[in-house]
């Protein structure tokens, strides 16, 4: 595998991890526009633990994820009082505030960025991404995934059916943040350098865009969205700016023509039918 392909695969892995971090709360009907804020927590926490405290890389990254989850849990209780647009904007504001705090934190380099000494290879990043996909696929077979869909479709009825809506919402939000934190930690140790400016609003926005492009009805939608977002510009051989412009055009037309996303529950059923027919 050439360096180019490996680089692409790693990029895809980061995008996939971010996609699932957005997908989990979205599956429960929460649009999280502050996912970059949780990545920043994971990235800086993991780097700090590894750099200054001498923790092993794996432990530091896991702890980064846990810290991101802890931040999410802490803010979930007040933030999830809001819903709809208010929630989207609250997460947006939260992401901005977190990134700005790290930008001003002199202990991790402030605005000049923070070098990370320990390096992890591409295998670890890709492996984690595969692990995240496997975990999400597994999760989609449990009742928890059903609860998420129920809470998204009709909170009132699911409440009447005895689902603890608050718990489900907080769990989805926190779990998503944990995934984002792990992604941030991996990013820091793969590129060996982080700066808070990288984790901007637009990073969150792009992630949300490609997740919705893939579709949130099934667990495979975010994966497809991330693949399209990563590979489409490479195939088109376009410059960095054209890639975003084309992606935006794609998103606009797609939302107009097929707002439920590329992969819907129906597509899965169709494929399964085809597949079983061929097996017979």
């Amino acid at each position: 595998m050439s360096g180019y392909h490996l680089g692409l695969l790693v990029l895809l892995s980061f995008n996939v991890i971010a996609a699932y971090a957005v997908y989990l709360p979205l599956a429960a009907g929460q649009l999280n526009l502050g996912i970059a804020g949780f990545m920043v927590v994971g990235a800086y926490a993991a780097s700090y633990l590894n750099n200054e405290m001498g923790w092993p890389v794996a432990g530091a990254i896991a702890c980064g994820g846990a810290l991101a989850a802890a931040v999410a849990l802490l803010v979930a209780i007040p933030i999830l009082r809001t819903h709809g647009i208010y929630l989207a904007l609250a997460t947006f504001a939260l992401g901005q505030v977190i990134a700005a705090i790290f930008l001003n934190l002199e202990v991790v380099g402030g605005a000049s960025g923070y070098p990370v000494t320990a390096h992890i290879g591409a295998v670890a990043v890709v492996g984690t991404a595969v692990g995240v996909i496997a975990f999400m696929a597994l999760l989609s077979t449990t009742r928890f995934a059903l609860y998420l869909t129920a809470v998204k479709s009709d909170p009132l009825v699911s409440d009447l059916m005895g689902i603890n809506i608050r718990f489900i919402k907080v769990a989805a939000f926190t779990l998503g943040a944990a995934v984002a934190g792990v992604g941030g930690g991996l990013y820091a140790h793969y590129f060996n350098y982080i700066e808070a400016q990288y984790f901007s609003v637009m990073l969150s926005v792009y992630t949300v865009l490609y997740v919705l492009l893939g579709g949130t009805q099934t667990v495979w939608g975010p994966l497809v969205g991330a693949v399209i977002f990563t590979l489409m510009p490479e195939l088109l051989r376009a410059s960095a700016q054209w890639r975003y412009a084309l992606f935006a055009i794609f998103i606009i037309l797609f939302m107009a023509a097929r707002p439920q996303g590329l992969i819907t529950a129906g597509v899965g059923g169709y494929l399964r039918k085809r597949f079983s027919r061929e097996a017979v």
Binding site: L26, A88, A100, Q241, I252
Partner: protein, 290 residues
């Protein structure tokens, strides 16, 4: 010194007022969080700069920018609002974010990603009231933006078209039933909205003499914050929110340094969303759509 900063904050707030009013109109009447608004704001500033640079007279340059923004507004209506009427609530929001990404990147491709200095259109004059200096361009833009917003407020209250718009805001179906031509009024509203924000972009460029493709992202999102802080759907709320955000921004630069602006502005938004989600002047959310 504080008086000077308060004046500066109010001047900057005037720009936010325009953006916040545009957002508030979209959300109040159409129940649609139109994230393409920062994009049209950027078009207003950036395109006027580009046209002035190739030697156009400022009247033509500004008209071209307004025209282009109006066209984008119409596109947003056609491609975002109309198809998404009956779909998942996050779809129009995402699609309008797509428009923001699109215009921003097109601006970067054709005009470069650097911050550009905007030529001086108005003669440079300052007014002094005691120790306080008031920039002429800033004062004009504050007066224009507040004037436009007051005009809009009266228009909505008194005029026939304003009454129709408020009818749609109240209940779309009933308005249609009572003979309001919703299919014609709504695109007009989109165009109007885009013109409004593009005007904000031009005023910003005139008074602060700098434009960049990221100005929409930087200022537009603060405009959303202003709208939320004031209360969604309320024009007076947008005015108060806009001026407040401007004050907070300038005062936080003054006392803490420019790196703390985002913490203060978005921290304020976050606290307010948690404590009083309906905003300072908003009514408690009755209808809720993403």
């Amino acid at each position: 010194m504080i008086a000077q900063q308060v004046i500066n904050g109010l001047m900057l707030g005037g720009i936010y007022v325009l953006i916040a009013v545009a957002f508030t109109l979209a959300i109040g009447v159409l129940n649609f969080l139109n994230f393409s608004i920062p994009g049209t704001f950027m078009i207003g500033g950036m395109l006027s700069w580009a046209m002035l640079k190739v030697g156009w007279h400022w009247t033509f340059a500004f008209s071209a920018a307004l025209l282009c923004a109006a066209f984008v507004g119409l596109l947003v209506y056609w491609l975002t609002y109309r198809p998404a009427k009956n779909s998942d609530p996050e779809v129009p929001l995402v699609s309008s974010l797509g428009f923001l990404v699109l215009v921003e990147n097109i601006a970067i491709i054709y005009l470069g990603s650097d911050q550009q200095s905007f030529p001086q259109v108005l003669a440079d004059f300052n007014m002094r009231i005691g120790p306080v200096v008031i920039g002429g361009a800033q004062l004009i833009s504050l007066v224009v933006s507040l004037g436009v917003v007051f005009g809009l407020s009266i228009f909505l209250k008194k005029s026939n078209a304003g009454r129709r718009i408020r009818a749609i805001a109240e209940n779309r179906d009933t308005a249609a039933l009572l003979g309001v031509n919703v299919g014609r009024l709504v695109p007009q509203l989109f165009v109007f909205n885009a013109l409004f924000t593009a005007l904000g972009g031009i005023l910003f460029a005139i008074s602060y003499l700098q434009v960049s493709p990221f100005m929409g992202e930087n200022l537009g999102f603060k405009g959303v914050s202003a709208m939320i802080i004031g209360g969604m759907g309320s024009i007076w709320g947008a005015i108060i929110g806009g001026l407040l955000i401007g004050l907070v921004e300038v005062l936080s630069i003054q006392s803490l340094g420019s790196d703390f602006v985002n913490i203060c502005v978005y921290g304020l938004l976050l606290v307010l969303l948690i404590v009083r989600p309906e905003g300072l002047l908003g009514k408690p959310a009755a209808r809720d759509k993403l």
